[in-house]
């Protein structure tokens, strides 16, 4: 009986310790486009501030918003803006609109295999290819071979952004192969000489970036830091972090400020994204 009491009290104590609030921990969830950057930010920041713990999970921008609404995350990474429906869900859940912070810039590259002779395409051509209207490379200046379109899962903000801005809101071709992450998409395109796909310019190796023209008459622009920050490269976007205003104080606010400071933006360049122009960094 004595040992039973001892065991029981230990158990209750462990339960108590387990349920105590976790001081100094920040949960970040959301966009796969941002997950590597978010992880690097977490690493560097934790190197400076030893008492803060940050944990990062990917899954897609939609995952971040869902977690924000379910209150299972502090920060939601997103590669697209929040939708009114999602704002509504947040309002129902914690009573306020989430605060939006722009954290960096990104250029979306269109990838083809290195063996593909095509070097540049225009936005209307991209729209026709990805909606499935154009099915053969020879219609856009390549060899006579059928096109394989690679796309992302629909939980991806990259998917949504591409859909909204390049496809003008139309659906992707049903025959588009869906890859769960940009890296697997890149790998698939690199191995498929008739493949075409899209993804953040940060993921570079293995396939070729196409130069993009706004329309048939414009010059073809390559995605580099200069063209993206200036806005001359046609497919660029902000990447965002959303947070519940009630939580935006103390350590979380400090972390957000650090991300948007010069130090945090230096990390952005290492990963391969493009830092915010000076005027947007508060």
């Amino acid at each position: 009986m004595k040992t039973f009491n001892q065991h029981f009290s230990t158990f209750v104590m462990t339960l108590g310790i387990a349920t105590s609030a976790q001081a100094g921990s920040i949960t970040v969830k959301g966009s796969d486009t941002l997950v590597i950057l978010a992880q690097k930010w977490a690493e560097v920041y934790m190197g400076k501030q030893a008492n803060v713990k940050i944990q990062v999970t990917g899954g897609g921008s939609g995952v971040g918003f869902a977690a924000l609404q379910n209150q299972t995350t502090d920060l939601a990474d997103a590669s697209r803006r929040i939708r009114p429906r999602e704002i509504e869900a947040c309002l129902k859940s914690f009573g306020k609109r989430p605060t939006e912070y722009k954290v960096c810039l990104d250029g979306l590259s269109v990838y083809v295999s290195e063996e593909n002779p095509v070097k540049e395409l225009s936005l209307p051509q991209l729209e026709a290819i990805f909606t499935g209207k154009v099915r053969n490379w020879k219609e856009v200046g390549g060899q006579d071979a059928p096109l394989t379109v690679y796309s992302r899962e629909n939980s991806s903000g990259t998917y949504e952004f591409f859909k909204e801005h390049v496809l003008q809101g139309k659906d992707f071709a049903a025959s588009a192969q869906t890859m769960p992450g940009t890296a697997s998409l890149l790998q698939a395109v690199a191995k498929d000489k008739n493949g075409i796909g899209y993804g953040g310019a940060a993921y570079g190796a293995g396939a070729k970036h196409l130069l993009i023209k706004k329309d048939e008459g414009s010059p073809a622009i390559e995605p580099t830091e200069e063209t993206v920050v200036k806005g001359t490269y046609p497919i660029w976007r902000h990447l965002y972090v959303y947070v519940n205003p009630a939580l935006d104080k103390g350590e979380i606010a400090a972390y957000l400020n650090w991300i948007r400071s010069d130090e945090g933006q230096k990390v952005v360049k290492d990963i391969g994204y493009y830092p915010l122009p000076k005027n947007l960094r508060e």
Partner: protein
């Protein structure tokens, strides 16, 4: 899976078990022991409770969709924000779509913001003939429809879109296709191996062969999917020269590898349970081992083999990681084996994390889960009944 192996094996000691159990109690029960024995009974009921709970909780989430109570039409009448105070609380609550509890806890600020958001949502509604449709109704879940921007009436699964398209037919066909390929690949191999291991090989070799083949069950499905994605897909594409690198064929073969241990275990058990006397009688009459196995033992074990295939089917249709990584995940409706495909399991795994809890998408994914549960439940039931009858038949003799 190891489970059914032992359940079909009849030990000669079983008959004497009746004695042990019939020996109810030779003395008055001590109160603590009586309590413990009742406790044992209650704990054993947990398996029944769990199956019931699993079905209950997945079906409950999906119930509104089953009953047709959801409506995600984008065209909603909006009330301007200034008119908020002119509505009665009940009207306001219904307009905003809140439950009583949610409404009671909300400050005025939040209600005002919700009304603003409602107007923003309405203004975002596309100028589309389909905006007013309730796409979660069964008609759009099962029948084809010509959406704006498409040339003809098609079955489209595209839940992330201004107009959400929830047709589940491509997913059902995708699951069936991969399962079919997996079974076509694995059943002949597993049955052949089962016949060889239980009937045609030397007994001493059998002792090593059986566990060796069952080791395949020790490979986690994520490793099989990984192997298919990294190695098999490229090899098969070089060998057959088709267009999509990740397709039904690759996923089916990898799935088959996952199913082989299941079918092999149970079929081998069924074949071994056939009394040796059958084989010996056949051999005595002058047949070869193969003839005895093929013409005498296999027909006698057909119920067990059938059960093995049913359980293999259940496993194949329910497998997630392999198809998630190797099938290409494109929701196309086609019977071509070399096209990418999207299965129900991969859809749930890929899309659930991004849904809003209790939203339409969430409920439809749970509905897919309930369907999967029902399919495997029926497959298991059939296999169980068949094995039961097999046991009776063999024990009766």
């Amino acid at each position: 899976m190891v489970v059914f192996r032992e359940m079909s094996r009849t030990s000669p000691q079983n008959k004497r078990f009746i004695g042990w159990k019939g020996l109810r109690r030779g003395h008055t029960a001590r109160p603590l022991e009586w309590l413990v024995e009742k406790g044992i009974f209650v704990v054993s009921l947990s398996t029944i409770v769990l199956i019931f709970l699993i079905f209950l909780f997945t079906a409950l989430e999906a119930l509104p969709v089953f009953l047709g109570n959801t409506n995600n039409s984008l065209v909603q009448k909006t009330i301007p924000v200034e008119a908020m105070d002119r509505l009665t609380p009940k009207q306001l609550r219904e307009y905003l779509g809140l439950t009583e509890k949610e409404f009671a806890g909300m400050p005025r600020e939040t209600l005002k913001s919700l009304m603003e958001v409602k107007i923003e949502t309405a203004s975002e509604a596309p100028n589309d003939k389909d905006a007013a449709l309730d796409t979660t109704s069964w008609r759009y879940l099962l029948l084809p429809y010509q959406w704006t921007g498409y040339d003809k009436s098609e079955y489209i699964w595209q839940p992330v879109s201004q107009i959400q398209k929830y047709n589940i037919v491509p997913l059902l066909i995708g699951s069936l296709k991969t399962t079919l390929v997996a079974l076509l690949f694995s059943v002949p191999l597993a049955l052949g191996a089962a016949i060889y291991v239980s009937q045609l090989s030397k007994p001493r070799v059998r002792e090593y062969l059986k566990p060796a083949v069952e080791l395949l069950a020790g490979i986690p499905s994520v490793v099989l999917g990984f192997f298919a994605l990294m190695v098999m897909a490229t090899l098969l594409q070089k060998a057959f020269g088709y267009q999509s690198r990740l397709n039904t064929f690759v996923a089916g073969i990898a799935l088959g590898l996952a199913v082989i241990p299941v079918v092999f275990s149970i079929a081998e058990d069924a074949l071994t349970s056939v009394p040796r006397s059958y084989t010996h009688a056949a051999l005595a009459l002058g047949s070869s081992r193969w003839q005895a196995a093929w013409q005498i033992v296999l027909p006698a074990a057909i119920p067990g083999v059938f059960a093995a295939v049913m359980l293999g089917f259940g496993r194949a249709i329910g497998e997630t990681m392999v198809v998630l990584m190797a099938s290409g995940n494109a929701s196309i409706l086609s019977w071509n084996l070399f096209d990418s495909t999207r299965t129900m399991t991969a859809t749930i795994a890929a899309e659930l994390a991004e849904t809003v809890t209790h939203g339409h998408h969430y409920r439809i994914l749970f509905m897919l889960g309930t369907l999967l549960f029902l399919v495997t439940f029926v497959a298991n039931l059939v296999a169980d009944v068949v094995i039961h009858r097999l046991k009776h038949k063999l024990e009766g003799k």
